[in-house]
Symmetry: C2
Subunit: 301 residues, 2 copies
């Protein structure tokens, strides 16, 4: 059910030129860069100052750029012969003054300002449209490295129980209902009761909250019950802000006393899948990729 990969085989690497990778925070930009290089396509990393991790970008050809140095960024893209780009990694919503726009960005500032008044989707989609207007081709991480997405079925640990399946179904329903409001992409449900909904805090902090509420006696449901459910928003442009899980997500699920985690197959990135499986096994929690509900297939332009 994943979208067609745009790998070396389909687009001749020489013709398409190197792939530009705009790097936010976290390990994922490095993982994807390595996967694309392994396919035979060169990469150029554009490490965003204040977000990208120097150790992650160091092994690859890279430039450091400001988030709103749009003119400089476009110039570098052209110099490097890049037309295709992906945006990867954590990018917190900055305040406008933090963007420190260059002269190339002044032209697009009104659009940035409008985008800031919407949710995450709106902001990122708007950024993508600007790039495409300037002749770039924006790809999703899942298009340049399809094997980073969760597959269907067991990702690690044991299998969900019938009770877990009920919690998963309720969580998916709630995420779908919230989708038009551009809220977060994860919820925690235990015994059909919604314990937590992710918004600006992100998944890790939401799981920490569940652990704290349990310690404080605010959650009286026994340990080993409850599921983290994570899925992309319906209609989300999957070239941006794909939901991601990794080993620290499994640790968070275990600390929150949940039974496991469930993600939409083909719709969620799994960072370090072997480590995810190992820790799920060790902690006695499940990690599972859910079949995509009918009529909600991945939407990749």
């Amino acid at each position: 059910m994943t979208s067609a990969p745009v790998a070396a085989g389909k687009h001749d690497a020489a013709a398409a030129g190197p792939l530009a990778i705009i790097c936010g925070g976290g390990m994922l930009p490095g993982t994807i860069a390595a996967k694309v290089e392994a396919q035979g396509r060169p990469v150029v990393l554009f490490a965003i100052r204040g977000w990208a991790d120097p150790a992650v970008v160091a092994p690859f050809r890279h430039h450091w750029v400001g988030l709103a140095c749009y003119g400089g960024f476009l110039r570098l893209m052209r110099q490097e012969g890049c037309r295709d780009l992906v945006v990867i990694g954590v990018l917190l919503r900055p305040s406008l003054w933090q963007l420190r726009p260059d002269w190339g960005a002044v032209r697009i500032l009104p659009r940035i300002a409008r985008a800031f008044r919407g949710g995450d989707d709106h902001l990122l989609t708007s950024f993508g449209r600007m790039l495409e207007d300037d002749g770039c081709r924006l790809l999703g991480a899942h298009q340049v490295a399809p094997d980073i997405l969760a597959g269907e079925g067991r990702l690690g640990g044991r299998s969900p129980s019938a009770g877990d399946e009920g919690d998963i179904a309720l969580g998916l329903g709630l995420l779908a209902a919230q989708s038009p409001f551009d809220v977060g992409q994860a919820v925690v449900v235990a015994n059909r009761y919604v314990l937590a909904v992710e918004a600006a805090e992100g998944t890790d902090r939401m799981l920490a909250r569940v652990a704290e509420l349990r310690e404080a006696g605010r959650i009286k449901i026994s340990r080993g019950v409850g599921v983290l459910v994570k899925a992309p928003k319906i209609g989300q442009d999957r070239r941006f802000d794909m939901p991601t899980i990794g080993p620290q997500t499994v640790d968070g699920v275990a600390r929150a006393g949940l039974a496991g985690l469930a993600v939409l197959a083909g719709g969620v990135i799994v960072a370090e899948p072997q480590e995810v499986a190992r820790r799920a096994e060790a902690a006695g929690v499940f990690a599972v990729g859910l079949p995509v509900p009918t009529g909600q297939g991945p939407q990749t332009p």
Copy 2:
């Protein structure tokens, strides 16, 4: 837009007998007991062990009861000549073993167990139905003391700006969309961006989270922007679990750096309204009661 009050004037106090008030945590049970007594109707408080505050129930005729000592509770109700009852105050979801049911409760345990598998609404509604099957008449706090509900318009502080109005509209829409999933009754929206959604943690902790996210730099929206929006679930039985604000809510809104709070008029209890107005004024935030959207009038059976 509030439902008809069931006060001394409409139901002769002698005929209806004293009002039983089942007391959870917080100050509200005492406030309501005083208001009902002031109307000339006697009250008997049933203070739930582990939840009710001894200092709050002390000034009134009261009994201490266990949450699942259903048989004992019904017996006391009859002895006291009570037929009408209200359930007031914080009642955290207990685990089944904590209920320590008596013999009177054994008969209804299968229903309790079924109710536990649903969300808050389900649990409380189920409890209400049991009481009504046993000849009690369950009333809402707003029926015995209508002036505890938020009115329409300014509750304190300044007026919301056009930008605030947009955040309020988005918040109300999100709460309506979440309603079938029995999630919490409050969200925080800033610049059309959903910062936080309340679930098991409650409103105070959600506001504390927004304050922490801001201090940690995870929220880059300037201070003085954003609204706490609070409304009952659509179709909720308003005799249970009415959303409530009080002075500590205003303090939380101010600490979170928001512009103000907005609640659905006739659908949210305001504890200590003078103090709410005073603190909103002092902190420079707004507190406003919203007109009920068409087709979403209060639903009181």
